[in-house]
Subunit: 131 residues, 2 copies
Amino acid sequence: MRITNQREIILEELKRLKTHPTADELYEVVKKRLPRISIATVYRNLERLSEAGIIHKLEYGGRQKRFDGDVRPHSHVFCIRCGRISDVDTVDGLDVREMVLDSKGFQIKEGSLQFQGVCPVCQKEKQLNVN
Amino acid sequence: MRITNQREIILEELKRLKTHPTADELYEVVKKRLPRISIATVYRNLERLSEAGIIHKLEYGGRQKRFDGDVRPHSHVFCIRCGRISDVDTVDGLDVREMVLDSKGFQIKEGSLQFQGVCPVCQKEKQLNVN
DNA sequence: TTGTTATTTAATAATAATTATCAAAAAGGA
DNA sequence: TCCTTTTTGATAATTATTATTAAATAACAA
C-alpha cells in the first residue's frame, strides 16, 4: 500500500482523535488540512487501512460505522441513544478467548468485552427533558 | 402494544430460528405463512419488539442488522467474511459488568463478550479457493 | 351489532450511508 | 524522460432502512 499524503493524514488524524469518529466526522477534520479531499477518499482509505489491520472498523449500534486508530485489544461502550463510542478500562490481563467453551465451529480471531449504555451527554439531555 | 397476527408470527418465527436472521431473511420465512405481508411490516415490528426488550437487535459486522429472539445474556461470534452470527458458549456465572474499572461516565446497561472469526461455511470456501 | 377512534398494515417513496465508476492526477520506477 | 500502476476527486449507483399514506383491522362504547 502506497503512502500517499491523503492516506497519511487520514491515519494521523484518526490516531489523534480518541472519539472513534464516523467517516464523515473524520472527513470534516481532515478537510482542514486537505481542503480538496473527497469524502470517497476518506471512505476508501479507512476501508483499506482496516483491511490491513492498521486501524479498526467498529460496527456497534447506530447506522454509521466508526473507526479506531488504536488496535490494541481493549473494550468499548456505545451509547444506545446517540451511537457515541468510548473506550472502557477493564481488569488487567484479560484474555476473553479463554472463556469460550464452545465456539460452534467458528475459528475465533478476536474477542472483546462490549458494553451498551448511556453516554454523559445523553444522560444530561434526559434530565433536561424531564424538567 | 397490540398483538396482531403479523407481529405474533414475526416473533414466533424469530424465536424458532437460531440463525440471528436479518430483516429480509426473516421476511422470506414469514412470507410462507403470510404471503401478503410487507417487508416494511417486518422492519417496523422488529423495531417495536426490540424497543420493548422482547427481542434483541444485533449490530455487529456486516451492513445488515440481525435479530435475536433469545434475550437471555449470552455471547456471540460474527463472521468477518459473511456477517453470519452464532451464539458462543462461555464459562458460567460471568457478569462482565464486574470487570469494568472505568466506564468513562457512561451509565452501563448491558455487557457481553463478543467474538470475531470465520464461520464454518467460509472456512470451507477459503480451502476451495486455495485449490 | 354498529359506529367511532386508534392502531396497524401494505405499498411504495424517501433518505442516508456506503460503495462503484471513471477520467484525470500523482507516484514510482526503467 | 516515458510508461505503468495506483490513487484521487467527483459523482452516480446501490443498499438497507425509515417515512408516508390511504386502506384495513382491532378495540370498545353505545
